[in-house]
């Protein structure tokens, strides 16, 4: 097992290095002259030269790369053009909000998607199975920005049931002031026992969570169904049935466990998808997280911020894939063999 862990960690390091190189390539080679992007199209030759010197763009490429990678190692991702702050400190500020949002959405997706997939596999070939499949395909085919706007129109504008934007009702600040713990209202309120704010924050979460969870629910249900059916034809399932185990055990215990691996590896993929979708959902629902930050960076052509976000999300993704590999090795002993 420890050899397996070591080799996976080494592999992940290699990929991280590649990821850094690729972001560098995108930043320096593709858009033509980055100095123009920085200084704007109307900048004079002197201004451009000043920018080149400031960012080391007059250096040879390999030297620029060394500077870039040294910066990353020291946690320096450059200065954001639209906030004028270091990208690193911006990211530290916005990341927790997004991770909480995405985390809740993914838990929600697993709680709905796995039972939906189980039910579909259980009734394979029936109308119920077909219905589950159609629902799943609708979920994965949904353009998330459109879904988010529709949810707003229906539940806020038409029905008035749920709040449209923000993280909680800031009018509560005067009656039950919120103390920051990690900077995410819903978590802060829970940790400090601030129930009015917690209730408000929870209702503000409903629509963004649905919008982000749609794709993961469909994907998890389909993969769960497929993985279970793949197992159900196996001899070990016939064996436990012949030993007299109930169908509940056959599905929930003997078929689900070997089927968990595809589901777990899907979680990494779905996490990446949900994180990128949170860009859109956050900007639609006005959440001050990584997504809103990224969308503003895109709108202002803030290259350092865009690349910082890309790099951080890619690193999170590599890390999550590593965790997934290790979890899989625990679930299924064949993986580590």
């Amino acid at each position: 097992m420890s050899r397996y862990v070591a080799s996976r960690v080494a592999q992940a390091f290699g990929v991280v290095l590649g990821v850094i190189v690729l972001t560098f390539v995108i930043a320096r080679l593709i858009p033509g002259d980055p100095a123009v992007a920085y200084a704007g199209p109307r900048a004079s030759a002197e201004e451009l030269a000043a920018v080149r010197e400031q960012f080391g763009l007059d250096q040879p490429l390999w030297q620029q790369f060394v500077t870039y990678i040294t910066g990353i190692v020291h946690g320096d991702l450059g200065i954001s053009l639209h906030t004028k702050q270091p990208v690193t400190s911006d990211l530290i500020q916005v990341l927790p909000t997004t991770l909480v949002l995405v985390g809740i959405a993914l838990v929600f997706a697993a709680l709905i998607g796995i039972p939906l997939g189980l039910a579909a596999a259980r009734s394979q070939g029936t109308l119920g199975d077909l219905a589950a499949k159609v629902i799943s395909i609708l979920m994965v085919s949904m353009p998330v920005f459109w879904l988010a706007i529709l949810l707003q129109i229906v539940f806020f504008s038409r029905l008035g049931w749920l709040p449209v934007a923000g993280q909680y009702d800031t009018a509560l600040d005067s009656t039950s002031p919120l103390y920051s713990v990690i900077g995410v209202p819903v978590v802060d309120a829970l940790l400090t026992g601030n129930w009015p704010v917690f209730a408000s924050a929870a209702t503000h979460l409903v629509l963004p969570v649905i919008a982000i969870a749609a794709y993961p629910i469909g994907a998890v249900a389909m993969v769960t169904r497929g993985a279970l059916l793949e197992n159900l034809g196996d001899e070990h399932i016939r064996m436990v049935r012949a030993l007299g185990f109930s169908e509940l055990s056959v599905f929930g215990r003997f078929a689900l466990r070997p089927a968990l691996n595809p589901i777990v590896s899907l979680i990494a993929l779905v996490f990446a998808y949900a994180l990128t979708n949170s860009f859109i959902v956050e900007s639609v629902f006005n959440w001050p997280g990584l997504g809103s930050y990224a969308v503003k960076a895109i709108q202002t052509l803030d290259i350092p911020a865009i690349l910082g976000v890309t790099l951080v999300v890619a690193l999170l993704y590599v890390l999550l894939n590593l965790i997934v590999d290790l979890v899989q090795a625990i679930i299924d002993p064949r993986v580590r063999a």
């Binding site: 016939r238 049935r241 012949a242 007299g244 070997p258 679930i331 299924d332 002993p333």
Partner: protein
Amino acid sequence: MIRVRDLQVSYGDSVVAHIPELDLAAGQVLGIAGESGSGKSQTALALMGLTRYAGGSVTGSVQLGGVELSTLTNKQWRAVRGRRMAMILQSPRASLNPTITLGALFGRTLKLHGVPRAERQARMEQALVEVVLDPQILSRYPHEVSGGQAQRFAIALVAALRVDVLIADEPTSALDVTVQSEVIDVLRGLRERHGTAIVFISHDLAVIGELADQVMVMRRGEVVEQGPTSQILHEPAQQYTRELLLAVPVIGRTR
């Protein structure tokens, strides 16, 4: 012990096995021979009441110790499977759940069938001794044991459950010749010690001959010939049986 009358297994419109008559007494071994697709494995599934899970249906009568099985509900079937009847399968390692240890499967099965916690360990160890396996195997996963070990483990599981009837579907086909004879010895021991009746299914008449008291030969879902082993092996009435006897045993897949 087992009495079958006019058993018919079908998937949709096609009939895959038809057994007009079959009787098996306690402690007896019945061999079912035939090529792939002859319906012998489908017969095994039908006897265990598992056809429905493969998407097929069964008509006719199967009795176990005087109790009619064909009308049992799913719940009643569970009191038969693992308690009165059990089954071992062709690919020994694939028939064990890859994600749990052999001991965990063994323990859960004994628990399912009401063996008190205090007795379980002793039962497991005793059963493993019968099949000549080291009890340490209980901490292993299926991919960590050999095919022969896995098949002997499956037999130990059945022995510990003390079932009346064991259905062995091609239990030796995936194994080397030397390992085959080990498994046959273990099955013989099971019958002698516990009086377990065995339905032994194989495409290989020579292997069946080592164990069976009577033999049934099947082809394309129908019974070709049925009778005492010596008669079938030495004076086969049907051309098909003679061909089967002459055929070089081929280790292959059967469904």
